[in-house]
Protein backbone atom coordinates (compact mmCIF):
# COMPACT_ATOMS: atom_id res chain seq x y z
CA UNK A 1 0.00 0.00 0.00
CA UNK A 2 1.36 3.38 -0.95
CA UNK A 3 0.65 5.23 2.26
CA UNK A 4 2.26 8.66 2.09
CA UNK A 5 4.42 9.51 5.05
CA UNK A 6 3.25 13.08 5.49
CA UNK A 7 -0.10 14.41 6.62
CA UNK A 8 -2.85 13.76 4.07
CA UNK A 9 -4.44 16.95 2.88
CA UNK A 10 -8.04 16.70 1.77
CA UNK A 11 -8.52 20.46 1.93
CA UNK A 12 -9.63 23.06 4.50
CA UNK A 13 -13.29 21.93 4.53
CA UNK A 14 -12.49 18.35 5.50
CA UNK A 15 -14.44 16.98 8.46
CA UNK A 16 -14.40 13.25 7.66
CA UNK A 17 -10.86 12.91 6.31
CA UNK A 18 -9.17 15.16 8.81
CA UNK A 19 -6.14 14.37 10.98
CA UNK A 20 -5.12 11.40 8.86
CA UNK A 21 -1.56 10.53 7.89
CA UNK A 22 -2.07 7.14 6.27
CA UNK A 23 -0.81 5.26 9.33
CA UNK A 24 -3.25 6.30 12.05
CA UNK A 25 -6.11 4.05 10.95
CA UNK A 26 -6.21 1.84 14.02
CA UNK A 27 -8.95 1.82 16.62
CA UNK A 28 -6.85 3.62 19.24
CA UNK A 29 -6.12 6.42 16.76
CA UNK A 30 -9.76 6.73 15.81
CA UNK A 31 -10.85 6.84 19.44
CA UNK A 32 -8.24 9.55 20.05
CA UNK A 33 -9.93 11.59 17.30
CA UNK A 34 -13.24 11.26 19.17
CA UNK A 35 -14.22 8.13 17.30
CA UNK A 36 -16.95 5.80 18.59
CA UNK A 37 -18.07 8.72 20.77
CA UNK A 38 -21.38 9.02 18.95
CA UNK A 39 -22.12 5.30 19.30
CA UNK A 40 -21.20 5.38 23.01
CA UNK A 41 -23.48 8.36 23.61
CA UNK A 42 -26.42 6.83 21.74
CA UNK A 43 -26.15 3.62 23.73
CA UNK A 44 -25.46 5.28 27.10
CA UNK A 45 -28.37 7.71 26.76
CA UNK A 46 -30.63 5.09 25.16
CA UNK A 47 -31.53 7.55 22.41
CA UNK A 48 -34.62 6.23 20.60
CA UNK A 49 -33.82 4.83 17.12
CA UNK A 50 -36.42 7.13 15.52
CA UNK A 51 -34.51 10.09 16.90
CA UNK A 52 -31.33 8.91 15.13
CA UNK A 53 -33.22 8.59 11.85
CA UNK A 54 -34.74 12.05 12.40
CA UNK A 55 -31.28 13.54 12.95
CA UNK A 56 -29.99 11.99 9.72
CA UNK A 57 -33.05 13.32 7.88
CA UNK A 58 -32.38 16.79 9.29
CA UNK A 59 -28.79 16.68 8.02
CA UNK A 60 -29.96 16.35 4.38
CA UNK A 61 -27.32 13.65 3.89
CA UNK A 62 -27.83 12.17 0.45
CA UNK A 63 -26.46 8.89 -0.90
CA UNK A 64 -22.79 9.31 -1.83
CA UNK A 65 -22.65 6.33 -4.17
CA UNK A 66 -24.30 7.98 -7.14
CA UNK A 67 -28.07 8.21 -6.84
CA UNK A 68 -28.14 10.94 -4.18
CA UNK A 69 -31.20 9.51 -2.46
CA UNK A 70 -31.94 11.07 0.97
CA UNK A 71 -30.34 8.72 3.52
CA UNK A 72 -32.72 9.35 6.42
CA UNK A 73 -35.70 8.65 4.20
CA UNK A 74 -34.13 5.41 2.99
CA UNK A 75 -33.53 4.35 6.58
CA UNK A 76 -37.18 4.99 7.45
CA UNK A 77 -38.28 2.42 4.84
CA UNK A 78 -37.02 -0.46 6.98
CA UNK A 79 -39.94 -2.32 8.59
CA UNK A 80 -40.04 -1.60 12.31
CA UNK A 81 -41.78 -4.65 13.72
CA UNK A 82 -40.13 -7.34 11.63
CA UNK A 83 -39.42 -10.53 13.54
CA UNK A 84 -36.02 -11.95 12.59
CA UNK A 85 -32.73 -10.62 11.28
CA UNK A 86 -32.57 -7.33 9.39
CA UNK A 87 -29.44 -6.42 7.43
CA UNK A 88 -27.51 -3.31 6.56
CA UNK A 89 -24.93 -3.45 3.83
CA UNK A 90 -22.17 -1.07 2.90
CA UNK A 91 -21.53 -0.77 -0.81
CA UNK A 92 -17.73 -0.43 -0.97
CA UNK A 93 -17.73 -1.94 -4.45
CA UNK A 94 -16.25 1.21 -5.87
CA UNK A 95 -15.70 0.71 -9.60
CA UNK A 96 -17.38 3.65 -11.31
CA UNK A 97 -14.60 4.95 -13.56
CA UNK A 98 -13.11 8.06 -11.98
CA UNK A 99 -14.15 7.17 -8.43
CA UNK A 100 -11.56 6.31 -5.77
CA UNK A 101 -12.75 8.02 -2.60
CA UNK A 102 -14.18 5.04 -0.68
CA UNK A 103 -10.81 3.33 -0.96
CA UNK A 104 -9.32 6.16 1.12
CA UNK A 105 -11.99 5.73 3.79
CA UNK A 106 -11.39 1.97 3.89
CA UNK A 107 -7.64 2.24 4.19
CA UNK A 108 -7.16 5.42 6.19
CA UNK A 109 -10.29 5.64 8.38
CA UNK A 110 -12.08 2.26 8.42
CA UNK A 111 -13.46 2.66 11.93
CA UNK A 112 -15.41 5.74 10.89
CA UNK A 113 -17.29 3.45 8.49
CA UNK A 114 -17.82 0.75 11.12
CA UNK A 115 -19.12 3.28 13.65
CA UNK A 116 -21.48 4.69 11.03
CA UNK A 117 -22.75 1.21 10.24
CA UNK A 118 -23.23 0.37 13.91
CA UNK A 119 -25.26 3.57 14.39
CA UNK A 120 -27.26 2.73 11.27
CA UNK A 121 -27.91 -0.78 12.59
CA UNK A 122 -29.09 0.69 15.89
CA UNK A 123 -31.39 3.14 14.10
CA UNK A 124 -32.90 0.50 11.82
CA UNK A 125 -32.90 -2.43 14.22
CA UNK A 126 -30.50 -4.39 12.04
CA UNK A 127 -28.67 -7.29 13.61
CA UNK A 128 -26.31 -8.28 10.83
CA UNK A 129 -24.31 -6.45 8.19
CA UNK A 130 -21.78 -6.79 5.42
CA UNK A 131 -19.21 -4.44 3.98
CA UNK A 132 -18.85 -5.45 0.32
CA UNK A 133 -15.34 -4.45 -0.78
CA UNK A 134 -14.36 -4.04 -4.45
CA UNK A 135 -12.48 -7.11 -5.68
CA UNK A 136 -9.50 -5.16 -6.98
CA UNK A 137 -8.48 -3.63 -3.65
CA UNK A 138 -7.24 -6.60 -1.66
CA UNK A 139 -4.90 -4.60 0.60
CA UNK A 140 -7.81 -2.43 1.70
CA UNK A 141 -9.94 -5.53 2.31
CA UNK A 142 -7.23 -6.99 4.55
CA UNK A 143 -7.03 -3.72 6.44
CA UNK A 144 -10.80 -3.78 6.98
CA UNK A 145 -10.48 -7.34 8.26
CA UNK A 146 -7.87 -6.22 10.76
CA UNK A 147 -9.82 -3.15 11.82
CA UNK A 148 -13.07 -5.05 12.26
CA UNK A 149 -11.34 -7.46 14.64
CA UNK A 150 -10.24 -4.49 16.71
CA UNK A 151 -13.83 -3.21 16.83
CA UNK A 152 -15.15 -6.59 18.01
CA UNK A 153 -12.43 -6.85 20.63
CA UNK A 154 -13.28 -3.40 21.97
CA UNK A 155 -16.97 -4.23 22.19
CA UNK A 156 -18.12 -1.81 19.48
CA UNK A 157 -19.41 -4.70 17.34
CA UNK A 158 -20.85 -8.11 18.15
CA UNK A 159 -23.25 -9.25 20.84
CA UNK A 160 -24.39 -6.81 23.52
CA UNK A 161 -22.44 -3.82 22.28
CA UNK A 162 -20.93 -1.82 25.17
CA UNK A 163 -22.92 -3.93 27.61
CA UNK A 164 -26.30 -2.99 26.14
CA UNK A 165 -28.92 -5.30 24.65
CA UNK A 166 -28.02 -4.01 21.17
CA UNK A 167 -26.18 -6.57 19.04
CA UNK A 168 -24.80 -6.08 15.57
CA UNK A 169 -22.60 -8.54 13.70
CA UNK A 170 -20.66 -6.98 10.86
CA UNK A 171 -18.43 -8.78 8.32
CA UNK A 172 -16.34 -7.83 5.32
CA UNK A 173 -17.18 -9.51 2.03
CA UNK A 174 -14.78 -9.45 -0.90
CA UNK A 175 -15.85 -9.08 -4.54
CA UNK A 176 -13.91 -10.43 -7.52
CA UNK A 177 -14.30 -8.20 -10.53
CA UNK A 178 -17.74 -7.10 -11.71
CA UNK A 179 -18.73 -3.46 -12.11
CA UNK A 180 -22.41 -4.42 -12.02
CA UNK A 181 -22.11 -5.48 -8.37
CA UNK A 182 -22.04 -1.81 -7.46
CA UNK A 183 -25.75 -1.89 -8.33
CA UNK A 184 -27.41 -2.61 -5.01
CA UNK A 185 -29.51 -5.62 -5.94
CA UNK A 186 -26.69 -7.17 -7.98
CA UNK A 187 -24.56 -6.74 -4.87
CA UNK A 188 -27.17 -8.65 -2.85
CA UNK A 189 -27.11 -11.49 -5.38
CA UNK A 190 -23.33 -11.49 -5.20
CA UNK A 191 -23.35 -11.76 -1.40
CA UNK A 192 -25.68 -14.73 -1.79
CA UNK A 193 -22.98 -16.41 -3.88
CA UNK A 194 -24.57 -15.90 -7.27
CA UNK A 195 -23.85 -14.06 -10.49
CA UNK A 196 -24.29 -10.33 -9.95
CA UNK A 197 -27.46 -9.86 -11.94
CA UNK A 198 -29.71 -7.04 -10.74
CA UNK A 199 -33.14 -7.91 -9.38
CA UNK A 200 -36.35 -6.44 -10.60
CA UNK A 201 -37.79 -3.88 -8.18
CA UNK A 202 -40.25 -3.98 -6.43
CA UNK A 203 -39.87 -5.65 -4.07
CA UNK A 204 -37.30 -3.18 -2.79
CA UNK A 205 -34.44 -4.35 -0.55
CA UNK A 206 -36.10 -2.80 2.53
CA UNK A 207 -38.78 -5.50 2.27
CA UNK A 208 -36.88 -8.26 0.44
CA UNK A 209 -33.11 -7.87 0.54
CA UNK A 210 -30.23 -10.23 1.18
CA UNK A 211 -31.46 -13.78 1.94
CA UNK A 212 -34.96 -12.35 1.55
CA UNK A 213 -34.58 -10.26 4.72
CA UNK A 214 -35.21 -6.52 5.08
CA UNK A 215 -32.01 -4.79 3.98
CA UNK A 216 -30.68 -1.27 3.60
CA UNK A 217 -27.68 -0.61 1.36
CA UNK A 218 -25.68 2.60 1.64
CA UNK A 219 -22.41 3.78 0.16
CA UNK A 220 -19.21 3.84 2.23
CA UNK A 221 -19.01 7.63 2.39
CA UNK A 222 -22.68 7.84 3.37
CA UNK A 223 -22.19 5.60 6.43
CA UNK A 224 -18.91 7.37 7.19
CA UNK A 225 -20.70 10.71 7.53
CA UNK A 226 -23.12 9.41 10.17
CA UNK A 227 -20.84 9.56 13.25
CA UNK A 228 -20.06 13.24 12.58
CA UNK A 229 -23.76 13.99 12.16
CA UNK A 230 -24.61 12.31 15.45
CA UNK A 231 -21.76 14.05 17.27
CA UNK A 232 -22.42 17.52 15.93
CA UNK A 233 -26.09 17.40 15.02
CA UNK A 234 -27.92 17.17 11.71
CA UNK A 235 -28.33 20.93 11.63
CA UNK A 236 -24.58 21.54 11.73
CA UNK A 237 -24.02 19.09 8.87
CA UNK A 238 -26.75 20.69 6.79
CA UNK A 239 -25.25 24.14 7.34
CA UNK A 240 -21.92 23.05 5.87
CA UNK A 241 -23.67 22.52 2.55
CA UNK A 242 -26.85 24.07 1.30
CA UNK A 243 -30.54 23.21 1.62
CA UNK A 244 -31.30 19.71 0.34
CA UNK A 245 -27.53 19.16 -0.06
CA UNK A 246 -26.11 18.75 3.43
CA UNK A 247 -22.49 18.40 4.45
CA UNK A 248 -19.17 17.88 2.77
CA UNK A 249 -18.49 15.54 -0.13
CA UNK A 250 -15.37 13.74 -1.22
CA UNK A 251 -14.57 14.46 -4.85
CA UNK A 252 -12.18 12.23 -6.77
CA UNK A 253 -10.44 14.40 -9.33
CA UNK A 254 -8.78 12.59 -12.22
CA UNK A 255 -7.60 13.27 -15.76
CA UNK A 256 -5.71 16.29 -17.01
CA UNK A 257 -5.08 18.07 -13.71
CA UNK A 258 -1.80 18.73 -11.96
CA UNK A 259 -2.67 16.84 -8.76
CA UNK A 260 -5.23 14.07 -9.24
CA UNK A 261 -6.61 12.95 -5.90
CA UNK A 262 -9.40 13.13 -3.37
CA UNK A 263 -10.61 16.45 -1.98
CA UNK A 264 -13.34 16.97 0.60
CA UNK A 265 -15.33 20.17 0.10
CA UNK A 266 -18.61 21.62 1.35
CA UNK A 267 -21.44 20.91 -1.05
CA UNK A 268 -22.19 24.04 -3.06
CA UNK A 269 -18.49 24.91 -3.48
CA UNK A 270 -17.71 26.34 -6.94
CA UNK A 271 -16.09 23.83 -9.28
CA UNK A 272 -13.26 26.30 -9.90
CA UNK A 273 -12.25 26.00 -6.23
CA UNK A 274 -11.97 22.23 -6.52
CA UNK A 275 -9.97 22.56 -9.71
CA UNK A 276 -7.56 24.92 -7.92
CA UNK A 277 -7.17 22.41 -5.08
CA UNK A 278 -6.20 19.83 -7.70
CA UNK A 279 -3.51 22.21 -8.93
CA UNK A 280 -5.42 23.42 -11.95
CA UNK A 281 -5.30 21.92 -15.42
CA UNK A 282 -2.10 20.09 -16.32
CA UNK A 283 0.37 22.34 -18.11
CA UNK A 284 -2.00 25.29 -17.76
CA UNK A 285 -4.22 23.98 -20.55
CA UNK A 286 -7.89 24.74 -20.90
CA UNK A 287 -10.70 22.54 -19.60
CA UNK A 288 -12.45 21.22 -22.68
CA UNK A 289 -14.84 18.73 -21.13
CA UNK A 290 -15.68 17.40 -17.70
CA UNK A 291 -17.60 14.38 -16.51
CA UNK A 292 -18.63 15.54 -13.04
CA UNK A 293 -20.04 12.41 -11.42
CA UNK A 294 -18.29 9.27 -12.63
CA UNK A 295 -18.26 7.90 -16.16
CA UNK A 296 -22.03 7.31 -16.17
CA UNK A 297 -22.82 10.99 -15.74
CA UNK A 298 -23.40 13.09 -18.87
CA UNK A 299 -20.31 14.99 -20.00
CA UNK A 300 -20.38 18.80 -19.77
CA UNK A 301 -18.44 21.32 -21.89
CA UNK A 302 -15.64 22.97 -19.93
CA UNK A 303 -17.07 26.50 -19.87
CA UNK A 304 -20.38 25.23 -18.50
CA UNK A 305 -18.55 23.23 -15.83
CA UNK A 306 -16.40 26.22 -14.85
CA UNK A 307 -19.61 28.11 -14.01
CA UNK A 308 -21.15 25.30 -11.94
CA UNK A 309 -21.24 24.69 -8.20
CA UNK A 310 -20.64 21.25 -6.75
CA UNK A 311 -23.91 20.04 -5.29
CA UNK A 312 -26.61 17.64 -6.44
CA UNK A 313 -29.05 20.33 -7.56
CA UNK A 314 -26.56 22.69 -9.29
CA UNK A 315 -24.98 19.91 -11.35
CA UNK A 316 -28.42 18.57 -12.27
CA UNK A 317 -29.36 22.08 -13.40
CA UNK A 318 -26.25 22.20 -15.59
CA UNK A 319 -27.41 18.99 -17.27
CA UNK A 320 -25.43 16.27 -15.55
CA UNK A 321 -25.29 14.48 -12.20
CA UNK A 322 -23.11 14.76 -9.12
CA UNK A 323 -23.17 10.97 -9.05
CA UNK A 324 -20.31 9.51 -7.05
CA UNK A 325 -18.35 12.78 -7.04
CA UNK A 326 -15.81 11.54 -9.58
CA UNK A 327 -14.68 14.54 -11.60
CA UNK A 328 -12.93 13.50 -14.82
CA UNK A 329 -11.23 16.49 -16.47
CA UNK A 330 -10.20 16.56 -20.13
CA UNK A 331 -8.17 19.31 -21.75
CA UNK A 332 -8.35 20.72 -25.28
CA UNK A 333 -5.93 18.15 -26.68
CA UNK A 334 -8.34 15.30 -26.00
CA UNK A 335 -10.40 13.68 -28.71
CA UNK A 336 -14.01 13.28 -27.63
CA UNK A 337 -14.64 10.40 -30.04
CA UNK A 338 -11.74 8.45 -28.61
CA UNK A 339 -12.78 9.22 -25.04
CA UNK A 340 -16.32 8.04 -25.69
CA UNK A 341 -15.05 4.92 -27.42
CA UNK A 342 -13.23 3.83 -24.27
CA UNK A 343 -16.27 4.45 -22.09
CA UNK A 344 -18.58 2.64 -24.50
CA UNK A 345 -16.24 -0.34 -24.50
CA UNK A 346 -16.44 -0.39 -20.70
CA UNK A 347 -20.25 -0.61 -20.62
CA UNK A 348 -20.25 -3.23 -23.38
CA UNK A 349 -17.76 -5.25 -21.35
CA UNK A 350 -19.61 -4.85 -18.05
CA UNK A 351 -23.24 -5.33 -19.12
CA UNK A 352 -24.43 -8.41 -17.21
CA UNK A 353 -26.39 -9.57 -20.25
CA UNK A 354 -29.72 -9.94 -18.54
CA UNK A 355 -31.75 -7.31 -20.44
CA UNK A 356 -31.76 -7.33 -24.23
CA UNK A 357 -31.62 -3.54 -24.78
CA UNK A 358 -28.45 -3.26 -22.67
CA UNK A 359 -26.78 -6.53 -23.73
CA UNK A 360 -27.26 -5.83 -27.44
CA UNK A 361 -27.33 -2.04 -27.33
CA UNK A 362 -24.01 -1.58 -25.53
CA UNK A 363 -22.34 -3.68 -28.22
CA UNK A 364 -23.99 -1.71 -31.00
CA UNK A 365 -22.95 1.60 -29.45
CA UNK A 366 -19.36 0.51 -28.94
CA UNK A 367 -19.00 -0.85 -32.47
CA UNK A 368 -20.43 2.34 -34.00
CA UNK A 369 -18.28 4.70 -31.94
CA UNK A 370 -15.27 2.51 -32.71
CA UNK A 371 -16.09 2.67 -36.42
CA UNK A 372 -16.34 6.45 -36.33
CA UNK A 373 -13.04 6.69 -34.47
CA UNK A 374 -11.36 4.47 -37.06
CA UNK A 375 -12.56 6.72 -39.89
CA UNK A 376 -15.18 4.30 -41.14
CA UNK A 377 -18.22 6.16 -39.82
CA UNK A 378 -21.23 6.80 -42.02
CA UNK A 379 -23.28 9.91 -42.16
CA UNK A 380 -26.35 8.35 -40.57
CA UNK A 381 -24.34 6.92 -37.66
CA UNK A 382 -24.82 9.81 -35.26
CA UNK A 383 -28.58 9.69 -35.50
CA UNK A 384 -28.56 5.90 -35.24
CA UNK A 385 -26.32 6.09 -32.17
CA UNK A 386 -28.58 8.61 -30.49
CA UNK A 387 -31.57 6.48 -31.31
CA UNK A 388 -29.99 3.25 -30.00
CA UNK A 389 -28.97 5.04 -26.81
CA UNK A 390 -32.48 6.41 -26.39
CA UNK A 391 -33.88 2.91 -26.74
CA UNK A 392 -31.73 1.55 -23.93
CA UNK A 393 -32.29 4.25 -21.33
CA UNK A 394 -35.27 3.50 -19.14
CA UNK A 395 -35.86 0.07 -20.69
CA UNK A 396 -33.69 -2.12 -18.50
CA UNK A 397 -33.97 -3.64 -15.02
CA UNK A 398 -31.11 -1.59 -13.60
CA UNK A 399 -29.41 1.72 -14.32
CA UNK A 400 -26.43 0.28 -16.21
CA UNK A 401 -28.42 0.73 -19.40
CA UNK A 402 -28.92 4.42 -18.60
CA UNK A 403 -25.28 4.69 -17.56
CA UNK A 404 -24.18 3.36 -20.95
CA UNK A 405 -26.56 5.62 -22.85
CA UNK A 406 -25.88 8.93 -21.08
CA UNK A 407 -22.26 9.29 -22.23
CA UNK A 408 -23.20 8.56 -25.84
CA UNK A 409 -26.09 11.00 -25.86
CA UNK A 410 -24.18 13.76 -24.08
CA UNK A 411 -20.89 13.44 -25.99
CA UNK A 412 -22.76 13.69 -29.28
CA UNK A 413 -24.96 16.52 -28.02
CA UNK A 414 -22.07 18.70 -26.87
CA UNK A 415 -19.36 17.68 -29.33
CA UNK A 416 -21.31 16.75 -32.45
CA UNK A 417 -18.96 18.73 -34.70
CA UNK A 418 -16.05 16.60 -33.61
CA UNK A 419 -17.90 13.36 -34.38
CA UNK A 420 -19.05 14.77 -37.73
CA UNK A 421 -15.45 15.75 -38.56
CA UNK A 422 -14.35 12.16 -37.94
CA UNK A 423 -17.02 10.91 -40.33
CA UNK A 424 -16.38 13.53 -43.03
CA UNK A 425 -12.57 13.66 -42.92
CA UNK A 426 -11.79 10.16 -41.60
CA UNK A 427 -9.43 11.66 -39.07
CA UNK A 428 -9.36 13.54 -35.82
CA UNK A 429 -9.99 17.23 -35.27
CA UNK A 430 -7.54 17.42 -32.38
CA UNK A 431 -4.03 16.04 -31.96
CA UNK A 432 -5.35 13.25 -29.80
CA UNK A 433 -3.30 11.10 -27.54
CA UNK A 434 -5.93 9.44 -25.45
Amino acid sequence: MNAPSEFLNYGPDAILMVGLNGRNWRLADYVARGGYGALKKIIAEKIPPEQVVAEVKKSALRGRGGAGFPTGLKWSFMPKNYVGDKYIICNSDEGEPGTFKDRDILRYNPHMLFEGMAIGAYAMGATRGYNYVHGEIWAEYLRCEEAIEEAYAAGFLGANILGSDFSFHLYNHHGFGAYICGEETALLESIEGKRGMPRFKPPFPASYGVYGKPTTINNTETFAAVPWIMRNGGEAFLELGKPNNGGTKLFSVSGDVERPGNYEVNLGTPFTTLLEMAGGMRGGRKLKACIPGGSSAPVLPGDLMMATDLDYDSIAKAGSMLGSGAVICMDETRCMVRSLRRLSYFYYEESCGQCTPCREGTGWMWRMVDRIERGQGRNEDLDTLTSVAGNIAGRTICALGDAAAFPVISFIRHFRDEFQYHIDHKRCLVPAYV
Binding site: N2, E94, G98, R103, E136, I191, S252, S295, R342
Partner: protein, 176 residues
Protein backbone atom coordinates in the same frame (compact mmCIF):
# COMPACT_ATOMS: atom_id res chain seq x y z
CA UNK B 1 -7.94 -30.88 -4.41
CA UNK B 2 -8.33 -28.18 -1.77
CA UNK B 3 -5.34 -28.00 0.53
CA UNK B 4 -5.77 -27.76 4.31
CA UNK B 5 -4.69 -24.11 4.04
CA UNK B 6 -7.38 -23.32 1.46
CA UNK B 7 -9.94 -25.21 3.55
CA UNK B 8 -8.95 -23.23 6.63
CA UNK B 9 -9.38 -19.98 4.73
CA UNK B 10 -12.77 -21.05 3.35
CA UNK B 11 -13.94 -22.06 6.84
CA UNK B 12 -13.08 -18.60 8.09
CA UNK B 13 -15.31 -17.10 5.39
CA UNK B 14 -18.14 -19.57 5.99
CA UNK B 15 -18.38 -18.34 9.58
CA UNK B 16 -19.43 -14.91 8.28
CA UNK B 17 -22.72 -16.14 6.86
CA UNK B 18 -25.83 -17.77 8.33
CA UNK B 19 -25.44 -21.55 8.62
CA UNK B 20 -27.99 -22.14 5.85
CA UNK B 21 -26.21 -19.71 3.46
CA UNK B 22 -22.89 -21.47 2.90
CA UNK B 23 -23.08 -20.55 -0.77
CA UNK B 24 -22.18 -16.96 0.17
CA UNK B 25 -18.58 -18.12 0.64
CA UNK B 26 -18.21 -19.40 -2.92
CA UNK B 27 -16.54 -16.26 -4.28
CA UNK B 28 -13.86 -16.31 -1.60
CA UNK B 29 -13.44 -20.05 -1.92
CA UNK B 30 -12.77 -19.81 -5.64
CA UNK B 31 -10.36 -16.92 -5.11
CA UNK B 32 -8.41 -18.88 -2.48
CA UNK B 33 -8.28 -21.94 -4.75
CA UNK B 34 -6.99 -19.68 -7.51
CA UNK B 35 -4.31 -18.26 -5.19
CA UNK B 36 -2.99 -21.80 -4.82
CA UNK B 37 -3.56 -23.40 -8.23
CA UNK B 38 -3.26 -20.36 -10.48
CA UNK B 39 -6.47 -21.12 -12.34
CA UNK B 40 -9.82 -22.86 -11.87
CA UNK B 41 -10.04 -26.21 -13.62
CA UNK B 42 -13.37 -28.05 -13.64
CA UNK B 43 -11.94 -30.42 -11.04
CA UNK B 44 -11.17 -27.54 -8.70
CA UNK B 45 -14.57 -25.94 -9.20
CA UNK B 46 -16.19 -29.31 -8.48
CA UNK B 47 -14.13 -29.61 -5.31
CA UNK B 48 -15.32 -26.17 -4.21
CA UNK B 49 -18.90 -27.22 -4.97
CA UNK B 50 -18.54 -30.35 -2.83
CA UNK B 51 -16.85 -28.49 0.01
CA UNK B 52 -19.50 -25.80 0.19
CA UNK B 53 -22.39 -28.10 -0.68
CA UNK B 54 -23.78 -26.43 -3.77
CA UNK B 55 -24.44 -27.66 -7.33
CA UNK B 56 -21.31 -27.58 -9.52
CA UNK B 57 -23.17 -25.63 -12.20
CA UNK B 58 -23.82 -22.83 -9.69
CA UNK B 59 -20.08 -22.66 -9.05
CA UNK B 60 -19.36 -22.52 -12.80
CA UNK B 61 -21.86 -19.67 -13.12
CA UNK B 62 -19.98 -17.61 -10.55
CA UNK B 63 -16.54 -18.47 -11.94
CA UNK B 64 -17.54 -17.43 -15.46
CA UNK B 65 -19.30 -14.23 -14.40
CA UNK B 66 -16.60 -12.44 -12.39
CA UNK B 67 -13.64 -11.28 -14.45
CA UNK B 68 -10.84 -11.97 -11.99
CA UNK B 69 -11.28 -15.75 -12.06
CA UNK B 70 -8.89 -17.53 -14.41
CA UNK B 71 -10.61 -20.21 -16.43
CA UNK B 72 -7.42 -21.35 -18.12
CA UNK B 73 -3.77 -21.60 -17.10
CA UNK B 74 -1.97 -18.29 -16.69
CA UNK B 75 1.62 -17.19 -16.47
CA UNK B 76 3.24 -17.23 -13.05
CA UNK B 77 2.38 -13.56 -12.82
CA UNK B 78 -0.87 -12.22 -14.22
CA UNK B 79 -0.53 -8.49 -14.76
CA UNK B 80 -3.82 -6.66 -15.23
CA UNK B 81 -3.54 -3.02 -16.24
CA UNK B 82 -6.45 -0.57 -16.21
CA UNK B 83 -6.91 1.27 -19.51
CA UNK B 84 -10.21 2.97 -18.71
CA UNK B 85 -10.64 6.66 -19.52
CA UNK B 86 -9.41 8.28 -16.26
CA UNK B 87 -6.28 6.11 -16.34
CA UNK B 88 -5.84 6.67 -20.09
CA UNK B 89 -5.76 10.42 -19.42
CA UNK B 90 -2.80 9.84 -17.11
CA UNK B 91 -0.58 7.60 -19.18
CA UNK B 92 -2.21 4.15 -19.01
CA UNK B 93 -2.27 3.71 -22.79
CA UNK B 94 1.49 4.30 -23.00
CA UNK B 95 2.06 2.07 -19.98
CA UNK B 96 0.06 -0.76 -21.56
CA UNK B 97 1.95 -0.40 -24.86
CA UNK B 98 5.24 -0.47 -22.98
CA UNK B 99 4.29 -3.67 -21.18
CA UNK B 100 3.24 -5.30 -24.45
CA UNK B 101 6.55 -4.36 -26.07
CA UNK B 102 8.65 -5.33 -23.08
CA UNK B 103 6.93 -8.71 -22.63
CA UNK B 104 6.46 -9.30 -26.36
CA UNK B 105 2.81 -10.25 -25.96
CA UNK B 106 -0.61 -8.68 -26.40
CA UNK B 107 -3.57 -8.63 -24.02
CA UNK B 108 -4.83 -12.07 -22.98
CA UNK B 109 -1.55 -13.67 -24.00
CA UNK B 110 1.14 -15.45 -21.99
CA UNK B 111 4.86 -15.23 -22.59
CA UNK B 112 6.36 -18.45 -24.07
CA UNK B 113 8.39 -18.98 -20.88
CA UNK B 114 5.13 -19.04 -18.90
CA UNK B 115 6.18 -16.20 -16.64
CA UNK B 116 3.71 -13.46 -17.55
CA UNK B 117 0.12 -13.12 -18.65
CA UNK B 118 -1.04 -9.64 -19.62
CA UNK B 119 -4.65 -8.56 -19.19
CA UNK B 120 -6.58 -5.38 -19.86
CA UNK B 121 -8.57 -4.43 -16.78
CA UNK B 122 -11.52 -2.21 -16.05
CA UNK B 123 -11.78 0.40 -13.31
CA UNK B 124 -9.93 -0.68 -10.17
CA UNK B 125 -11.16 2.25 -8.11
CA UNK B 126 -7.73 3.85 -7.87
CA UNK B 127 -7.80 6.34 -10.77
CA UNK B 128 -5.86 8.95 -8.77
CA UNK B 129 -2.87 6.59 -8.80
CA UNK B 130 -2.91 6.09 -12.59
CA UNK B 131 -1.41 4.18 -14.29
CA UNK B 132 -2.55 1.33 -12.05
CA UNK B 133 -2.05 -2.39 -12.40
CA UNK B 134 -2.63 -5.50 -10.30
CA UNK B 135 -0.34 -8.50 -10.01
CA UNK B 136 -2.04 -11.86 -9.44
CA UNK B 137 -5.31 -10.28 -8.24
CA UNK B 138 -3.84 -9.19 -4.92
CA UNK B 139 -1.04 -6.68 -5.32
CA UNK B 140 -1.96 -3.25 -6.64
CA UNK B 141 0.86 -1.13 -8.07
CA UNK B 142 0.35 2.62 -8.38
CA UNK B 143 1.82 5.41 -10.54
CA UNK B 144 3.34 2.90 -12.97
CA UNK B 145 5.39 5.08 -15.25
CA UNK B 146 7.87 3.44 -17.62
CA UNK B 147 10.78 3.14 -15.14
CA UNK B 148 8.57 1.58 -12.48
CA UNK B 149 7.12 -0.83 -15.04
CA UNK B 150 10.61 -1.95 -16.00
CA UNK B 151 11.58 -2.38 -12.36
CA UNK B 152 8.45 -4.45 -11.72
CA UNK B 153 9.02 -6.70 -14.73
CA UNK B 154 12.63 -7.24 -13.58
CA UNK B 155 11.49 -8.05 -10.07
CA UNK B 156 8.82 -10.49 -11.21
CA UNK B 157 11.12 -12.15 -13.76
CA UNK B 158 13.63 -12.87 -11.02
CA UNK B 159 10.87 -14.14 -8.75
CA UNK B 160 9.58 -16.41 -11.53
CA UNK B 161 13.11 -17.74 -12.09
CA UNK B 162 13.14 -18.72 -8.41
CA UNK B 163 9.88 -20.62 -8.97
CA UNK B 164 7.75 -18.00 -7.22
CA UNK B 165 4.36 -16.79 -8.38
CA UNK B 166 1.46 -19.04 -9.20
CA UNK B 167 1.63 -22.40 -10.87
CA UNK B 168 0.81 -21.73 -14.48
CA UNK B 169 1.22 -23.33 -17.87
CA UNK B 170 1.99 -27.01 -17.84
CA UNK B 171 1.20 -27.55 -14.19
CA UNK B 172 -2.55 -27.18 -14.21
CA UNK B 173 -3.72 -29.00 -17.31
CA UNK B 174 -4.32 -28.13 -20.92
CA UNK B 175 -5.40 -24.67 -22.05
CA UNK B 176 -9.04 -24.41 -23.03
Amino acid sequence: MLSPEVQRRIDRELAKYPADQRRSAVMSALAFAQDEHGWLSTDIMDAVARYIGMPPVAVYEVATFYTMYNLRPQGRFKVTICTNLPCALSGATEAAEHLKARLGIGFNETTPDGRFTLKEGECMGACGDAPVLIVNDRRMCSWMKIEKLDALVDELSQAAARGEGRPGHGSGGPAK
